[in-house]
Amino acid sequence: ACGGDDEGDDGTSESTEEDAAAGDDAEASDDTSESTEEAGGAGGAPEDPGAPEAGERDLTLKVGTVLPQTGALAFLGPPEEAGALKAAKDINDADAGITIELTLGDSGDPDNRAYATTVPQLLNADNKVIIGAASSGVSKLFIDEVVAAETLMISPANTAPEFSDWPDNNLYWRTAPSDLLQGEVLGNLIASDGVVNLGILFLNDAYGTGLEAQLTETFEAANGTVVASESYNAGDTTFDAQISSIMAQSPDAIALITFEEIKTIIPALESGGVDMSNLYFVDGNIADYSEDFDAGMLEGSKGTQPGPALDDSFLEGLNAGWQEHAGEELSDLNYAGETYDAIVLAALSALAADSVEGPDMATWMAQVSGGSGGGEKFDNFADAAAAITAGEIVDYDGPSGPITFDANGDPTEATIGIFEYDGENKLVRQN
């Protein structure tokens, strides 16, 4: 999507304009992410709207979330919504000339179709930013509707490659870093551990297949062999067949690219006689399992997760907000930081644009993330907002990492953390 151009009325002409405008910079994300060598070049850099106008702001930004409260992905909802709640609180507390009115809507899953009624409802209520959805499939079902309503859409968790060149009038953004980066780190991590033969169990969707492909590529490039790669479908209930297929090839280690199913897979692996210290986890399933499994079960297993280490005050705020809202503890943290950053970035670009209209905000999204380069780095909303109202260019880096958008609205930078399980099935960060 290209900055400033928000009146493209159909897909084809829009995407050609985009190509023309962005030239060879606007390539699919996988190209971009590998173009590391281009030092400081214009690699995927979006158009720069220049410095924001200085001056006081008085804006009210209505933000609606379309995140899974119900359905098969319901376990992903709480941390994301907690992130959204905390973002709204922090922004409103900063009193920087912008107030967030947050509505938490339910995306459900494609099975219960909750999004179908939530999205029109949020759009009719004049929400200018839609945060969601968690799964790429669900996003796909309503992205066109949101774009048609000229509303900004930011997903904290989508990783499907198609969204990079979706005809979105520049309105679709995402804060989850491409899985390609994580796949590469994971592949090299496994190879560095001296694993010769690897088995992979992965979820058959954009997330799983993307990671699997990148992992395989990296790992095989390092002389390793993927001896078994078994997929399963969302909603599958037993994994014995897959595990048995993998075990039949007796790999040295197994990479698990899954979501919540892991809680079923780990005991199944254990009773399948798998060496539990040679498992590799990814961001979808890496978590503190001290409550769930016997001590020592996962000791020595490793995993990767994008994002810097979340600091304690952020976590406290997150938990406190959630406690107040839902009256219970957060059990997971997946995508909390990404959701938080999505709303902060939307607020910053609203400030920069001095407008809460979707296309106006979209013009500034890349810049406030640091995508146009040259901005001063800020790691919290209040300071960044003050800088913008003072007419400065900012580069916001939040709890999800050093987010920097390219012309497609994809983040290009990421910190990938490497973790190892200790004797209590707790995670120890290695970097």
Binding site: N223, A241, S245, A248, P267
Partner: protein, 416 residues
């Protein structure tokens, strides 16, 4: 533009072989990790040289056949193994030196895997036998659920889509009772009883009044869909969207014979299923009430006219169907393993497929159908991709019905 800030985990173990295996790791931000293995065994004491630009460093592999060398820049480096230091008869067949590319990272592997790969893969036969047993276990568990469904269908004609929730109910009840602090066996017993009570309640509160009002079976079927929705989301509210485990899950397998390995829980669950199934079959075929259930299934009015208290029989069937479903829910929680709010619906179609495959309303049919479906699902993945493992089982269902429209054990009706 990608700037990646990943660093290699600072390797905890230092094996004490002189530190030559870790060279300049602290000095530089990026490093190369070299693994040298011969026929999958680490090769120690091999000299490795890294060169690039005007930098050169060398190290000797440790007990794990590993070397880690820090390098000053992200430019490509060449990694060379000194073949002289390799054991007798071992040569490097692939590239030597290897050029490491950093991609977007700060660490890169350079692995020399020498010699033949000597993995011991499982033979087709042993895989087959293993899955056969797994399928048998799955099939028996399915059978418990199927027979309950088949019984209820038989006596009331109701296609109960909420049966899935009755399965989930058993597992959730066991979980909740166990969480109260009772021993798991007690919890399971309570759960099965509660499931029976749930079946009774289901009938008394819903189906009996509806039957009195003379509501059609298709309408009732849609009602079960509504109930299933209610049930599922109530479970979601109660236990949340995640997976919880009952105690005793997993556990190592005992080698029974040949490639057949079963865990204690597997053995208990298989034996339990078999016993319960035999009991139910005996009840159906030999006892007065059992026969009466089949009579009610055939013709409610006539059954009443024969002096059978149709409502009572129906109630009994709901209680038994409920308990069987509940028990199968507990076993399902151990088989998967895990308890989840929608664990029942996920096998609902398989349950239905099993019941239909065997012949609707015949208890033995449900058993046979379940075993066939259970084994097919598990074994078919030897030939087809595992993400379409259900396609195989469902396809067989359709093929069987093409030949035997009344199911495997069903009886064809007489015309005229």
């Amino acid at each position: 533009m990608v700037i990646l800030q990943a660093a290699v985990p600072a390797s905890a173990q230092d094996d004490g072989s002189g530190g030559e295996s870790q060279v300049n790791v602290e000095e530089y931000d990026q490093n190369v990790t070299v693994n040298i293995r011969n026929s999958n065994q680490p090769v120690p004491d091999v000299r490795v040289v890294v060169t690039g630009g005007d930098y050169e460093a060398e190290a000797v592999s440790d007990e794990r056949g590993q070397v880690r060398i820090g390098v000053p820049t992200q430019d490509p480096y060449e990694v060379l193994v000194d073949e002289e230091t390799l054991p007798e008869g071992v040569t490097v067949e692939g590239d030597n030196p290897i050029t490491v590319a950093y991609g977007s990272q700060f660490f890169a592997p350079a692995n020399f895997f020498l010699g033949e790969d000597v993995r011991e893969t499982a033979s087709f036969l042993s895989q087959f036998v293993e899955r056969l047993f797994n399928g048998l276990n799955f099939g028996l568990m399915l059978a418990l659920a199927s027979i309950g469904l088949s019984l209820i269908f038989g006596t009331t004609g109701l296609t109960n889509f909420a049966h899935a929730e009755m399965v989930t109910f058993g597992a959730v009840a066991a979980l909740l009772v166990w969480q109260l602090g009772l021993p798991i066996l007690v919890a399971i017993a309570v759960a099965v009883i509660a499931s029976g009570a749930f079946g009774w309640f289901f009938d008394a509160a819903l189906w009996r009044p509806l039957r009195r009002r003379g509501i059609g079976l298709v309408q009732m079927m849609i009602l079960t869909i509504g109930f299933s929705l209610v049930g599922r989301y109530v479970f979601l509210i109660i236990i949340g969207g995640g997976t919880t485990q009952l105690p005793g899950v997993g556990g190592t397998k005992h080698q029974i014979f040949g490639p057949v390995a079963l865990s204690t829980v597997d053995i208990i669950s298989m034996v339990l299923s078999l016993l319960v199934l035999l009991g139910v079959s005996y009840w159906l075929l030999r006892t007065r009430i059992g026969k009466a259930t089949r009579a009610v299934a055939d013709n409610r009015q006539l059954a009443a006219a024969s002096g059978i208290d149709v409502e009572r029989v129906t109630r009994i069937v709901w209680v038994i169907g409920g308990s069987l479903a509940g028990l199968s829910g507990v076993l399902w929680a151990y088989f998967r393993p895990g308890i989840k709010w929608d664990m029942g619906v996920q096998i609902l179609l398989l349950i239905f497929a099993a019941v239909v495959l065997g012949g609707l309303g015949t208890a033995f049919g449900a058993l046979v159908g379940s075993l066939v479906i259970g084994i097919l699902v598990e074994v078919s993945t030897l030939w087809i991709p595992s993400d379409i493992k259900y396609v195989g089982a469902l396809g067989v269902l359709i093929l069987v019905l093409l030949v035997r429209p009344q199911g495997l054990l069903g009886r064809r009706e007489r015309v005229g």
